[in-house]
Amino acid sequence: MQGIGVVERGTTRRRLMAGAAAVAGAALAPGSGRAQAPGTVKVGLLVPLSGIYARFGQLMRMGAEIGVRHINEQGGVPSLGGAKLDLHLFDAGDSTEKAKNAAQRMVADHPDLVACSGAYLSSFTLSATEVTERAELPMLTLSYSDLITTRGFRYVFQTSARAGDQAKVTLPIMLDLAEKATGKRPATVAILTDNTASSLSFVQPIREGSAGFGVKIVMDETFTPPLSDATQLIQKVRSSRPEMLIMPITVISDVKLLIEKMNEFGLGRGRVPTIGSGIAMAQSDLLQNIRPAQMEGFITVVGNWDAKGQDKIIEEFKAATGEPWMGQNGIATYGDMWIMRDALEKAGKSDRRAVAEALRTIDITEGAALYYPGRRVKFDANGLRETAGPVVVQWQNNKPLTVYPQDSAMAEITWLKR
């Protein structure tokens, strides 16, 4: 990127022990020698940059870097004399322990950080916020887990709707839509979910309240990702003949196996209307792994997505990264940078406690708010964004397009008739 991402420096040198000689070459990283300019404010991004989740972290990094560039180009933080944001990256690695270590490193080595964003996986966010909470460093996150804002923490701010809430909002909309398209309200639903925390929270209200939604659950299967074969799961879908399938999946390889198997069994492309949760079913990585035509009609519910009115940013993101669309990870961290800027602007000083206080009281429908569904940034007492609702994305013409909420929608939702 443009060298906005500044790696940690300073104290790390002392820690270099046995590995020093071997890695001396790599140590000459770009930007590592740069002194902090007087008019800058340090913000952090703690995401997995290595290990099995690195891909997601990379996308989040791209979004944040563009966000910071835009903010700085547009005058930084006016109330701080136009101070520029200075983004620092921290690698959360591939385990909760590494994520926690990185968070500890972040707060210990950078006492002047005012806010941070992260940490992709909800378990990483959970362990990282244990650190940031104690350090009184505000942390913005898009993790869906219900646990994040139910622990009584005061320095964590969840920008997306919790998975359970997403399902509660989405399901009736889907049922209405089906009724409108087919003339018949779906009465049977099948649930096929992996057993990650966010998927389980998504299906929980449906399992518990199916009667309230007026549907009957005809199949309910939970599997441990990653699958090695989807045959018998899809066979169960096939034999239970649901009118709608709820299928929250988090791992790309499972998406491929399940979707291809549905197509193989003649259930794909809307034959069994399928609603997922999370970004795995709409990620650009799918293009490398599955024919987009096979995705046609699939719907997934996410926390944030490319929305109407963001074309310029999206185009820039696409040009800078070569990605075909921006997606939740890019847009969310982009927006997080703007929330940080707006909170700094409100706080009027470069201090983490002041920023946290500003976040607790912020209520805007402009600026950063434009990058979030609901178009408003206001956090409740637990740190959950009040108007955060689900964003519904549907594959249409080989692309996942936002179809809900209305003010963000880039296309009309369609319900393929059986």
Binding site: T224, Q232, S253, K256, L257, F265, Q288, N289
Partner: protein, 315 residues
Amino acid sequence: MLQLEGFLQALNAGLLLGAHYGLMCVGLSLIFGVMRVINFAHGDFMMVGMYAAFHIFTLLGLGALLGEGAGPYVAALLAAPVLFVLGYLAQRFLVSRVTGTRVGNLEGEGHYAQLILTLGLSLILQSGGQILFGSVPVSVPSELSSEAWELEFAGGALVVFVNQARAWGAVVAVAIVTLLVLLITRSRTGKSLRAAADNVQAALYMGIDVDRAHRLTFGLGVAITAVAGGLLASSYPFTPYVGLEFVIIMYAGVVLGGLGSTVGAFWGGLLIGVIQQCSALLLPTQLQNTAIFAVFLLVVFLRPQGLLGRVSERT
């Protein structure tokens, strides 16, 4: 009828997937059988094999050349020589230093050193893989991965879908295992590998270059597992960290079949595929891997030498 259909469907999926597992296990088993080394990095070598297949497919334009039907299989086979060289070199420069005749004086016959070394190797392959190949999951494009032959029984009341990509993969896997068995039972090289496995000292007395036999074995074992990975690469998106997901399956399969038995390893892998897919008929799907471990432990306790293993390990 529905239950029967479900069973047949699961069995069919299990057999097809199991053939892929079997091939993977055969590679690991070969190395174990001849060198008595537990290769922790075996799954990561398979990962490199998957990437090799992917890049061979893309760079040689196999999709355009052969189509997305046959192309992926050719790519998988072409990954073998690449991985053979990699395995050969890894044995030549690293593993050989803690195996074979050099470790007689080491604590635990060098097993500790072998474990740590292959763990280190595993780390390097994974992390190096991330640097070289990136972290975007990829798969080899195949037009067969969502195509099935529909077998109708009972006048169409019962339909079994046989996935074409997996079916052809299973055919290739069986063919390779057959070729390998012919190689090690019929050819002089194969026999000398078995001789080196049976008795290192006696093999030396015969003038068999045991070090070379070990290099061949490591290369061959890695290459075979790489082909299995390449075959899966069209239906399974992978990242540099995919090895860990399969290495456990490989160990279980190899032990089930009987440590050191090449054919046994194939049956072990096949059995694991079947258990994994059929367990969901009885147990929650979430526990399908637990079922593998349960059966694995059961078999090991009842028949410690594995299904086809010899009664005692070489001492």
